[in-house]
């Protein structure tokens, strides 16, 4: 059942889309994968933008979060106030998961699609027939060319050996993932624990993905590398590279959080005044439409 849903809703459309891209990209399946990556990145850009908003908002919230941490000793209360601050600023700590969650099934479906579209055995080609739509434009393209820039797009570095172009891709997967993690903005007000966690992620992610890439067909690694390079570009354009004195090219709006005392006329013991009452205009992180919905 789940397998059928996966096949009909995701894998088969992807297989056929890749074949069409292959035809449009001069019968080069490698170029088709790159074009596919660009299209997916463009399609998920609204989500990425939301993530960037969220990151910026989180960043601007840090002073207030630290203030809350200092002010409240009760962990439960501290958590409540922190969450409230996030909510009012329109920041979602899990906001960065959106693009990742979208990427995940696409990535898996691509893995599946590449194994289907570039069959490694006659049986696999025979099986491909049941995944292709009946249009002649698609059917005549089969089988695809399996090589791109000296790479066998089907082969995994495990099969090809480490001293091979496919093996070099593993390195590129690691480097681009690392570079993407490093260019993702981090808050300057992070405490040491958070900074240590961030540094661990920055090391673990590339290592983990490079390890996975050992078992990926090189076509999947190409997707990952191109995706990471585009992610790096987005990060640089949005956040700049402070270390190299590169300023952001575009400004992403961050919601300005109200100061703790103004936004929350609260005391550890006293009653909480609803933040809504203290908001001006639409309120932080809220549109006119959202406010209209709240009105009776």
């Amino acid at each position: 059942m789940i397998g059928d849903i996966f096949r009909i809703a995701l894998a088969d459309p992807m297989v056929n889309f890749l074949v069409i891209l292959n035809n449009l990209c001069f019968n080069s399946f490698g170029l088709a994968i790159i074009a596919f990556t660009v299209i997916v990145k463009a399609a998920t850009f609204p989500l990425t933008l939301r993530q960037l908003h969220s990151t910026r908002s989180m960043q601007s919230l840090q002073p207030r979060i630290q203030e809350i941490q200092k002010k409240y000793t009760d962990p439960k209360r501290r958590q409540e106030e922190t969450m409230r601050a996030y909510k009012e600023a329109g920041a979602n700590p899990l906001g960065c998961l959106g693009p990742m969650l979208i990427q995940f099934p696409i990535f898996i479906a691509l893995f599946y699609a590449i194994r289907l579209v570039l069959p490694e055995s006659p049986e696999a080609l025979e099986n491909l027939s049941s995944h292709l739509y009946g249009w002649s434009y698609i059917q005549h393209a089969v089988p695809m060319k399996t090589h791109f820039l000296g790479l066998d797009l089907r082969q995994t570095p495990n099969d090809a050996g480490f001293v091979s172009i496919e093996g070099f891709l593993v390195l590129l997967v690691g480097i681009t993932t690392w570079a993407q993690t490093k260019t993702t903005v981090t808050s300057p007000t992070m405490d040491d624990k958070q900074r240590a966690q961030q540094q661990m992620i920055a090391v673990m992610m590339p290592v983990m993905f490079a390890f996975f890439a050992l078992s990926f067909p090189s076509g999947v690694s190409i997707y990952w590398i191109v995706n990471s390079v585009m992610g790096i570009a987005t990060n640089v354009v949005t956040f700049g590279l402070p270390r190299f004195n590169i300023k952001p090219l575009v400004k992403v709006r961050a919601n300005t959080p109200p100061p703790l005392d103004a936004g929350h006329a609260t005391s550890p013991a006293g009653p909480t005044i609803p933040a809504r009452e203290l908001r001006t205009a639409n309120g932080p992180g809220r549109s006119k439409r959202q406010n209209r919905r709240r009105r009776p």
């Binding site: 397998g3 479906a109 025979e126 099986n127 002649s136 059917q139």
Partner: protein, 374 residues
């Protein structure tokens, strides 16, 4: 409510993991689809994808005489991986080509290896063709080879690295007189001189879609099925089709059965067609329950078709009428072509089960293999 909200992302992650697990599982490893070769002396059957068994003549049962590679011999470097072309038996020698990329010559009497030829640049997925003392075949990396039947060395006059083609070759090579016909997965059909491998036609015959099988169906007539659902009859004198291609509903990937200038074949949607070899025109004959990859056969006036759902269907070709459909067990599926011996039809499944179909009685029985792999 808030706990549900907290669980939301976790649930989403679990579902995605499940989806990914489903997505990653099905991988089609080579299984081979070599059809059996049956005679009054015995039967050559692939009971498993990488082992050839020579059986006693199949009656109510069949016993294994020998296997290649020898199943009693451990620590052998022999690895066939899978075999797609039926074994070729000539002058007491069995010739065999593997997906691993080797060609073997074996003594038919006891299965002893006479010679082995490797370094072929790719695996072999088509039949071996035999002519003028050489074996001709193509490889998945797009090389055409002609090798000496006596020792496996390159045939004299042929390039030492074989003839390089622009695309992989999955189809068996068809041979007529002095010429070998080779089809590529890029949709080209080449005519090569058996003497030295040079191209005979001024340019290859090109079709839209891959050509995964090829067969001589009459003198100067080549059956060219394209994976773009079109079947052509090509005049080998000039490399041109005798008529516009005959359209099928789905892929055609098989050798046709021939009777009285008519070619019978089926497609991956289970439609069965009859193609006039003289005119190149095709008509529908009927349909079967599932995809058909296995090459059909004609015995008398009965066409026998085995489909991927393990059904064997009998058609009367004179009356274009379906006679009977018999389910054939539950072991594997039919991808290997059917073969005829003594007016009986033999089929082997991907799990190595051997079946005999009787076109007169419209029946199918499994032939147990005594001392076999199972």
């Amino acid at each position: 409510m808030s706990s549900l909200r907290r669980l939301g992302p976790l649930l989403a992650l679990i579902i995605l993991l499940a989806l990914s697990a489903v997505g990653c599982t099905k991988i089609y490893n080579p299984e081979g689809w070599a059809e059996p070769s049956v005679s009054a002396d015995g039967a050559y059957v692939f009971e498993s994808k990488d082992r050839l068994s020579y059986l006693t003549p199949p009656t109510d049962s069949a016993s294994v005489r020998w296997t290649f590679p020898d199943r009693n011999q451990k620590n052998t470097d022999l690895k066939l991986r899978a075999v797609y072309g039926e074994p070729l038996i000539e002058d007491g020698i069995v010739y065999l080509a593997s997906y691993e990329g080797d060609v073997f010559a074996l003594k038919a009497s006891d299965g002893t290896q006479i010679w082995r030829r490797g370094n072929l640049h790719g695996g072999v997925t088509g039949r071996l063709a035999s002519a003028k003392g050489v074996l001709v075949f193509g490889t998945t990396e797009g090389r055409v080879w002609a090798i000496d039947k006596t020792n496996g060395a390159n045939a004299s006059g042929w390039p030492k690295d074989g003839v390089k083609m622009p695309d992989p070759i999955w189809a068996g090579v068809a041979v007529q007189a002095e010429t070998a016909y080779v089809a590529t997965m890029g949709g080209d059909v080449f005519a090569l001189a058996l003497s030295d491998g040079h191209q005979v036609w001024p340019k290859p015959f090109h079709v839209s879609g891959a050509v995964a099988d090829l067969a001589m169906v009459a003198t100067d007539r080549l059956f060219v099925p394209s994976l773009n659902k079109i079947v052509y009859i090509v005049d080998t004198n000039n490399g041109q089709p005798i008529a516009p291609g005959a359209r099928a509903s789905d892929w055609v990937w098989m050798q046709p059965a021939i009777k009285d200038s008519l070619a019978y074949y089926a497609d991956f949607s289970g439609n069965v067609y009859v193609l006039n070899i003289t005119t190149g025109k095709a008509t529908a004959l009927g349909e079967v329950a599932a995809k058909v990859k296995s090459s059909p056969v004609v015995v008398g006036d009965v066409l026998v078709v085995a489909d991927r759902a393990r059904n064997v269907t009998f058609f009367n070709i004179k009356e274009a009428k379906k006679l009977n459909t018999v389910p054939a067990g539950d072991s594997g599926t039919f991808r290997a072509g059917l073969t005829v011996a003594n007016e009986l039809v033999y089929a082997v499944t991907t799990k190595g089960a051997l079946f005999r179909a009787n076109p007169k009685e419209l029946s199918v029985v499994e032939i147990p293999i005594v001392g076999g792999a199972k």
